[in-house]
């Protein structure tokens, strides 16, 4: 193979990695935003809030990415996020901080299991099934908070658990960002370097072929819904620790942003293509753009307009990039 062909192939390999577009995009906006705001955007004061918000959205997006890779969708993560926060805050004084975290995760996993059951056992389309759970558990969130205040009591605030799961600050950064990085590393390894991940990518790419090779497709789909639920609940715990309280609308509409983050990050909705790094960066990019608009005194509602355009452009751009690389290789 000639040197030229070899480098072309390498270029193709690099470009077709799902995260390439979003890495480039993020790098560009980091530079542009920092310059345009004369460094304010990237200052510690601003970055701490941006990174904190990215962390919780990012963790939700990671769970969503797993589901999307399996060629399904989960639009209930916003409601699970809320349930996680409420269960954590609500039970911490009764059963202790660590157990409260565990309980929140169990609840998230249970809701995810219910989603999985609807999709695999009852063959309901994932969109409709998770739409149903979105409603059911959002309603429960509202119901739980009527007449109750869900704030972190002093006992909770001083606990070790509170510190570990989002409450502790270092250099002004809440530790939720560390959790995001840890999750990205772990999940990336799981998806790309374990048998589970290989089979997940396979069933997302072609579930009939995966089944014919002995992959337990229904079991795995069920498992990714459970994981998505656990991660969403975990994000809720971190957020609750960060701000110290939660209300019934916690997480409302965040599922849409989580999906957007995944799509921007290079995960294909048709499955089989995943990037944990991409999803996390997608979350960061979205939060960063929001912050940029605020710093420029642009009405925050322009973010919605921008978000819609970004998603479409990201998809078209990704397709084009992939096609270009295919032609050149």
């Amino acid at each position: 193979m000639s040197a030229q062909t070899a480098s072309r192939l390498e270029l193709f390999q690099l470009v077709k990695r799902p995260a390439t577009s979003v890495i480039v995009f993020t790098a560009v906006i980091v530079v542009v935003f920092s310059v345009q705001t004369s460094g304010t955007w990237i200052s510690q004061a601003n970055m701490t809030s941006v990174l904190q918000a990215s962390a919780t959205l990012g963790i939700m997006a990671l769970g969503e990415a797993l589901v999307i890779t399996a060629r399904e969708i989960d639009i209930s993560v916003g409601s699970i996020f809320g349930i996680g926060a409420l269960v954590y805050l609500g039970s911490a004084s009764t059963i202790g901080a660590f157990p409260a975290v565990i309980l929140a995760l169990i609840c998230g996993g249970a809701i995810g299991a219910f989603n999985g059951l609807l999709v695999t056992r009852f063959k309901v389309s994932a969109l409709i099934a998770t739409l149903g759970t979105l409603f059911i558990f959002r309603g429960i969130c509202y119901a739980l908070t009527e007449g109750f205040s869900f704030t972190a009591g002093d006992q909770l605030r001083q606990s070790v658990a509170y510190a570990i799961f989002g409450g502790y600050e270092f250099f002004g950064y809440k530790d939720s960002i560390l959790w995001l990085i840890a999750m990205v590393v772990v999940l990336h390894a799981v998806v790309f370097a374990t048998p589970f991940g290989n089979r997940l990518l396979a069933l997302g790419g072609n579930d009939a072929s995966a089944l014919s090779r002995g992959v337990h497709v229904t079991a795995m789909k069920w498992q990714v819904f459970v994981l998505s639920g656990i991660l969403a609940a975990f994000a809720g715990v971190l957020e609750a620790s960060k701000i110290g309280f939660a209300d019934g609308s916690f997480g409302r509409l965040e599922e849409l942003q989580a999906i957007a983050a995944c799509v921007i990050g290079g995960c294909l909705l048709t499955g089989g293509r995943c990037s944990m790094v991409g999803a996390a960066l997608g979350a960061f990019a979205l939060t960063g753009i929001q912050s940029f608009l605020v710093l420029n005194s642009v009405q925050p509602q322009w973010f919605n307009v921008l978000l819609g355009v970004i998603i479409v452009v990201a998809l078209i751009g990704d397709k084009a990039l992939h096609a270009w690389a295919l032609r050149r290789s």
Binding site: I73, L118, F122, K123, V124, S125, L127, I128, A129, L131, G132, T133, L134, F135, I136, F137, R138, G139, I140, C141, Y142, A143, E146, G248, L256, I259, A260, V263, L269, T270, Q299, Q301, W302, F303, N304, V305, L306, L307, G308, V309, I311, V312, L315, I316
Partner: protein, 323 residues
């Protein structure tokens, strides 16, 4: 026609579940809350909101039965309403109506273009539209409420859309007309045949000469148009805008459509079903309010109904068809 053949024809309808559920609901309400439900006030509210939600749900049904989804209807509902009110002052009501509807249809055509031509997944396209138009709403209205001028409130068109007749809102009668019209389109026209054919089996539909792109474009345009029309009817009756107009209506519309028998696997749906779905969701909401239940129960209820409805409808579709 034998009783069993009538039954099996009934059983094969997409909306049989909704028909049975709606009937059962009426029985339950009559039995347990006769005075509350059959009161003038409740009936008025239920009919009005059923009409508003139902118009959107009928459009959503069309999209769902082609195997796609439209998440942007809530934003388009709000956008069109605001456009109507904003245009009414300079353009007068009739022109404002046309301009606003044009915006709605254009939005639908853009969705269709991205799905059909650019080959993008409808969930993502309409999700983007949801964000985009919601943002436009905020920016356009500037967060402030706007309303129709006194003169425009008594315009003939405003009255036609928002006035009353026989104590019921005109919107309700318009809704009934729309449902009948679209049920006819679905069951008795070539377009309707094409729409139903696609969802069921795209490949065979294509080989039979169905222009899939055109049919889907029709579905998306109709969905946006109906959502926009519903928005205009809403503000013709209560002529104030607010930025949250239509928020999360898409989810309710999808729920209503699904309850009404529309299957996301496509090929199955009914305008009457969507209307009944809207009725079911709305009437229970008002019953809950009437009973003094906290409003959070409504959302939970919609979720439970949605899950039960889809399971039942899928089972019905699979089983009763083979009778």
């Amino acid at each position: 026609m034998t009783p069993s053949s009538v039954l099996s024809r009934l059983g094969r309808r997409a909306d049989v579940g909704a028909i049975v559920a709606a009937a059962a609901l009426l029985v339950v309400f009559t039995a347990f809350d006769f005075n509350g439900f059959w009161s003038f006030f409740t009936l008025l509210n239920v009919s009005q909101y059923t009409a508003i939600l139902g118009l959107v749900a009928v459009g959503e049904s069309l999209v769902i039965l082609t195997g796609e989804i439209d998440l942007s209807v809530g934003s388009i509902y709000g956008l069109t309403a605001i456009a109507f009110i904003t245009f009414a002052a300079p353009l007068g009501v009739p022109l404002a109506f046309l301009a606003a509807m044009a915006i709605a249809i254009a939005a639908g055509l853009i969705n269709a273009f991205l799905v059909v031509r650019a080959g993008m997944v409808s969930m993502i396209v309409t999700l983007s539209s949801l964000f985009f138009y919601r943002g436009i709403i905020y920016v356009w209205s500037g967060g402030t409420a706007d309303s129709l001028s006194k003169a425009n409130r008594v315009e003939w068109l405003t009255n036609l859309l928002g006035g009353n007749w026989l104590w019921f809102e005109n919107g309700f009668f318009l809704f009934v007309i729309v449902v009948i019209a679209f049920q006819l389109i679905l069951t008795a026209s070539r377009t309707g045949n094409h729409l139903l054919a696609i969802g069921g089996d795209s490949a065979s539909a294509h080989s039979r000469g169905v222009d899939i792109g055109r049919a889907k474009t029709f579905a998306f345009a109709a969905s946006s148009a109906l959502a926009g029309f519903s928005g205009i009817v809403t503000v013709a009756d209560q002529p104030q805008t607010h930025v949250t107009l239509g928020e999360q209506m898409e989810l309710q519309a999808i729920a209503a459509a699904v309850v009404g028998g529309a299957l996301l696997t496509g090929g199955r749906g009914s305008a009457i079903g969507a209307a009944l779905g809207a009725f079911i969701i709305t009437s229970v909401r008002y019953e809950l309010i009437g009973m003094g239940a906290p409003s959070s129960w409504y959302i939970t209820f919609v979720g439970i109904v949605l899950v039960i409805a889809i399971i039942v409808n899928q089972w019905l579709s699979a089983t009763l068809r083979t009778l």
